[in-house]
Amino acid sequence: MKPSYKTLSLFLLLCLVFITNTCLSKDPTSLVRISSPFQDLWLFSNIRLPRLLLAMLTGAGYGLTGLLLQTYLRTPLADANLIGLGSFAALGTLIGLAIGIQNSALLILCACFCTLLIPIFYHYFLQHRIGQTFLVLMGLCLTTFVQGLVSLLIYIIHQNFPLSEMLFWLFGSFGFHTLDDVMLILPPLTIGFLLLFHKRQQYNFLCLSNESIFASGIQLGPLGLRLVLGCTLILGPIIAMTGLIGFIGIGVPHVIRLLYHKPPSHLMIPCMIAGAILCLVADMLVRLLPLSYEINVGIFIALINAPVFIHLLWSRSHA
């Protein structure tokens, strides 16, 4: 598959945004200044680079998983949070806080372990050959149940533990992680991406009826399980580190579909690149806004991108 000029343009845009992000910083008087990343190599490699890498991995992960979940579940509203990744990770983090874990790496581990329950649930659902609509409802029920548990835990432990760390996590942020943290999550991410790219042509058959897919020799159950497992391995560690960042998984695939008019297997790389661009731009803007404090990137993405997306859909539907 040769990359199209649109994909090459997106990739060049990603490079441009990455370089801009590394060169722009804010001085103590809240003014943006241009600086070379090599001026302070320690600062760059320990603060800026992990943040940029995490932002790109987050965007790529959300973009890709959103596209494939929307395709598999046949709903334009699907993203990783529909199968419960956000709420399971929140539950894991809260359980970690409740049992007194202070170390952030251990909290991440707790959240990751909790998200690994998702493929186990879906393995059970998919074994019974249930339809995609039923899967969506199951996902919603599972998410609602776990969100209820999260609220219950917050209610129980809020008097004994400071929840500022939890609240900060819920708002979503790319900061406060080292290069080692990012390296730590690369192995599961690599396995996750390989799982999602394995036999990617099969996603194209999901446009047909279930009967035709069956006759095409595609087993929806194993495909669904591979998809959920891939999503969990990619986004479990990412959500555990960055907290909840919404919208990218829903918005990016829609924009890329409008831009490309191609089947899903051709949209996987563009969705990853577009997601990475979106996160890098959002991270750059929250870093450079002339405020005395930094807004969490999760809040910023929700506030800015959702209206832009509504405008885009509105103008398209009235074109």
Binding site: R74, C207, A215
Partner: protein, 222 residues
């Protein structure tokens, strides 16, 4: 030879299909008829292995369809159904190329696909969408074609055109099994008829012996 033997399917304790035993030989074009809820779609899903039968077996040329490995299905049969069909905002020519179908293919030409190729699939009428999906299925060269209500959204001319294409397939030695409600077209094109009633095979045999006034009156009230 397609051979269904004692095929039954239950949903919990409710019987959906009961003891269906019937054969279709190569070159036969079978019309599967029956009222709504008679079990036509269930029969098609069950004998191809999509639904788990509670008993019985289905064989195609001495190979069991129910235990057919997934990778051998695409070279054995195709299954047309418009239920849950979802083609994202793709132009028709992209869909054709996705399934390696040339716009000059005789099937695509016969179904007048060439005038649609620059349109986006989601802007087509339901009948036009159905023609595109039918072309994807009929362009394959397979021993068995299973079609669940292939005529439903089509106009009169294209209903005849699809039936002619299916008859051509049968004339080439393929087995074609299509469920439909258009009894006049079944009478005109199908050599054999399987008539389902409440999950049982009420009648089967040559069309002119089954589509008799007495049988039609009894099962369809017409």
């Amino acid at each position: 030879m397609l051979n269904l033997h004692n095929l039954s399917c239950h949903l919990k304790d409710k019987p959906l299909l009961s003891n269906i035993t019937v054969q279709a030989s190569p070159g036969s074009f079978v019309g599967l008829i029956g009222e709504n809820g008679a079990g036509k779609t269930t029969l098609l899903r069950t004998f191809t292995g999509l639904l788990q039968p509670s008993q019985g077996r289905s064989m195609l040329n001495n190979q069991c369809l129910l235990s057919l490995p997934a990778h051998r299905r695409p070279s054995t049969f195709s299954y047309f159904s418009m239920e849950n069909t979802e083609i994202w905002h793709l132009p028709v020519h992209e869909i054709l190329s996705l399934f390696n179908l040339d716009k000059h293919n005789p099937i695509a030409t016969a179904l007048d696909i060439s005038i649609l190729i620059h349109q986006s699939f989601h802007t087509l009428s339901s009948g036009q969408k159905q023609r595109v999906i039918l072309a994807l299925h009929l362009a394959k060269d397979l021993p068995l074609y299973v079609l669940d209500e292939p005529l439903n959204s089509l106009d009169h001319r294209h209903q005849h055109q699809v039936m002619r294409l299916l008859k051509q397939k049968a004339d080439q030695g393929k087995i074609v099994l299509a469920s439909c409600h258009q009894l006049d077209l079944v009478q005109q094109y199908c050599a054999d008829v399987w008539l389902l009633d409440k999950g049982t095979l009420a009648h089967h045999g040559p069309t002119n012996q089954i589509l008799r006034p007495a049988i039609l009156k009894h099962h369809f009230g017409i």
